[in-house]
Amino acid sequence: MSAWEDAPGFVSLREGPEMPTVTIEAGQIREACLFARDELGFDMCVDVVATDYLEWGGKGVAGYIGTASGRDLNAPAAQGLQTLPALKPKRFSVSYHLLALRQGAPRVRLQAWVDDGEPVPSVVAVWPTCDWHEREQFDLMGIRFEGHPNLERLLMEEDWEGHPLRKDYPIGGEPVRFSEET
């Protein structure tokens, strides 16, 4: 939709199968959300999701005989991908899924790209529901939302170190005996 061109901090617009994805600069997320809510009528924020793209496409493309380590049937995708996935601008993507309560239920995904440690302005002032969403993403993914009234861990214990959903965080749990894991 061309209406997104004059959104504050607008970077790019990509039409997705079910909703457009608007990339917004990380610093201006709050203004973009206010713009979306007041001008374009997206009055419900459905979800705030952070995704970690560390080693994205790291498995490389499978040649005819497979990657250097060869085919390991027990480790799916050991043979690598058919095509190298598109490179991502930064490591973390924070996506805000918005929904407008209108005819046809228009939806949009505002995406901000941040690196490890870069803060993202909190949108709790725009939609109070984002309070727990942002706390959960801080807890599991380690994205700091500055301006959040109560940014603490939500799901893990208070004294838990590390952010479990990061790609460099081990899956944890106990090694299964008699499998190569031990």
């Binding site: 997705g16 199968p17 079910e18 909703m19 994805t21 809510r37 007041d38 009055d43 419900m44 924020c45 459905v46 979800d47 999701v49 995704t51 970690d52 994205w56 496409g57 498995k59 049937l73 799916p76 995708a77 043979q79 991908l81 058919q82 095509t83 996935p85 598109a86 996506s95 899924h97 929904l99 309560l101 209108r102 005819q103 046809g104 239920a105 939806r107 995904r109 709790v124 002032a125 725009v126 939609w127 109070p128 529901t129 984002c130 309070d131 727990w132 969403h133 959960e136 009234p149 109560n150 861990r153 939500l154 799901l155 893990m156 214990e157 479990p164 959903l165 965080y169 899956i171 944890g172």
Partner: protein, 433 residues
């Protein structure tokens, strides 16, 4: 600091009827924490109790830290995470075939809807055509699952408010539904009957008369419930006007599903954004403007009647679909039938590839939302072209329903808090994921 929309929204279509209160009751400092008012701050009369993880009426392991002044709730904050099962991390290490059975355990009361949302997301990324019989059967089972979920809600929340006999009535009907699930899928709960591409098995013939019997009987059962509860003085006293939530607050707090429709917002994804075959089925969407515990109870009762009508219409359509394909035949994704393996080499190769490495989903990210019994259940799926999902995130309606607890419980009594937590119908597995 909760900023109301700048232009006072003129009341347009989705908002119906006048709200129980105007202005906003969302706590100012932090939207999800009700702070003790300053004049009570240092008085020793405020009594802090743990409405803790092991409590008969918190529907699972929710912990509410409640500050009481006498019997009035003056401070409330929720602590969740006692059932955090790390679904999203575990699903990143499993192939898509194995991932299908995880979402059922997230919202373990409306389990088939959760499985549906993941399967739909994968199918849309794959741009896979699902045969008509599978679509209609999925819709039938999801509506039965909605009735099952509302029955568990009604049974437990009425039990907490003293109507103990409701528990036995509701679980009697629930057993009938579980028999139907067992007849079709072989398992009472967590049926894993939806496959990427259609259904796991064909529908046994015995299912149609059984389902017909349930569909005929259920309106009488609903009549029993209404007779039991609707004119029961105690029930009305405990639910009418308790825990009000206005339309603006509900939208600001991201409420969806029965909680939203009970606050006077006429919004149902099955009608606004039809998925499966909901546009070819006619049903009514109940809306009540009062936004209190009674309105949420009424919305769920009417929804059960509507779901029963949908099941009846699906049954009529599916009965004429005998012998139709029940799963897509795209060999790259769907396992070939057993007998084909003995004859054709390609099927053997496809079978081998799918079983060892799992089918690959083209690169991309997608967010699919459906109307689960609790509200909008969404699945955000990012795939890097490999056989394992790169990132899966489930938008959980119970997660936002619990955010509304402080707003609804504001200046209510401790007894109302039990009614409110029951009426928001939050399932802890869905909240903690």
């Amino acid at each position: 600091m909760a900023v109301a929309p700048r232009r006072p929204r003129v009341r347009r279509w989705p908002i119906v009827g006048d709200p129980p209160y105007d202005g906003s009751r969302i706590p100012e400092r932090v939207p999800t924490i009700l702070d003790v008012p300053p004049h009570l701050e240092d008085s020793e009369d405020v009594f802090r109790i743990n409405f803790g993880p092991n409590h008969p009426s918190t529907h699972g392991v929710l912990r509410l830290i409640v500050d009481l002044d006498g019997e009035e709730v003056v401070g409330l904050s929720a602590v969740i995470g006692y059932l955090h099962t790390g679904f999203e991390k575990t699903m990143e290490t499993k192939t898509y075939w194995k991932c299908v059975t995880y979402p059922e355990r997230i919202d373990y009361v409306g389990y088939q809807n959760n499985e549906l949302v993941f399967v739909l997301a994968v199918e849309q990324l794959l741009r896979l055509e699902v045969p008509e019989k599978a679509t209609w059967m999925r819709m039938l089972l999801c509506e039965l699952n909605r009735i099952h979920s509302h029955l568990v809600y009604l049974g437990t929340s009425a039990l907490e408010l003293g109507a103990i006999s409701m528990f036995w009535y509701c679980f009697r009907e629930r057993e009938m539904i579980l028999d139907l699930f067992e007849l079709v899928t072989g398992q009472r709960m967590h049926t894993r009957y939806f496959q990427v591409g259609g259904l796991a098995e064909d529908i046994p013939e015995g299912f149609y008369p059984e389902c017909r019997k349930f569909v005929e009987w259920f309106p009488h059962a609903l009549g029993d419930y209404l007779q039991l509860l609707d004119r029961n003085e105690i029930w009305l006293e405990r639910t009418k006007g308790v825990g009000p939530l206005s339309a603006h607050d509900a939208i600001a707090l991201g409420q969806t599903g029965p909680n939203l429709r009970a606050s006077g917002v006429d919004w149902d994804l099955r009608r606004e954004q039809p998925y499966l075959a909901y546009d070819q089925v006619d049903f009514r969407v109940p809306v009540y403007p009062e936004g209190d515990v009674y309105a949420r109870y009424r919305v769920r009762m009417d929804e059960m009647a509507e779901s029963n009508r949908i099941v009846r219409q699906c049954l009529d359509r599916i009965e004429r679909m005998d012998g139709w394909p029940w799963i897509a035949d795209d060999r790259k994704v769907v396992l070939p039938p057993r007998e084909e393996l003995h004859t054709s080499m390609e099927s053997l190769i496809h079978h081998f590839k799918i079983v060892t490495e799992g089918f690959r989903v083209p690169e991309g990210e997608i967010y699919v939302a459906i109307e689960s019994p609790r509200g909008e259940a969404g699945c955000y799926l990012v795939s890097d072209g490999g056989p394992k999902p790169w990132r899966v995130h489930f938008r959980s309606p119970s997660f936002v329903a619990l955010e509304a607890t402080p707003t609804c419980a504001r200046d209510g009594l401790i007894a109302d808090l039990i009614a409110i937590v029951g009426s928001l119908d939050a399932v802890m597995g869905d909240t903690d994921r």
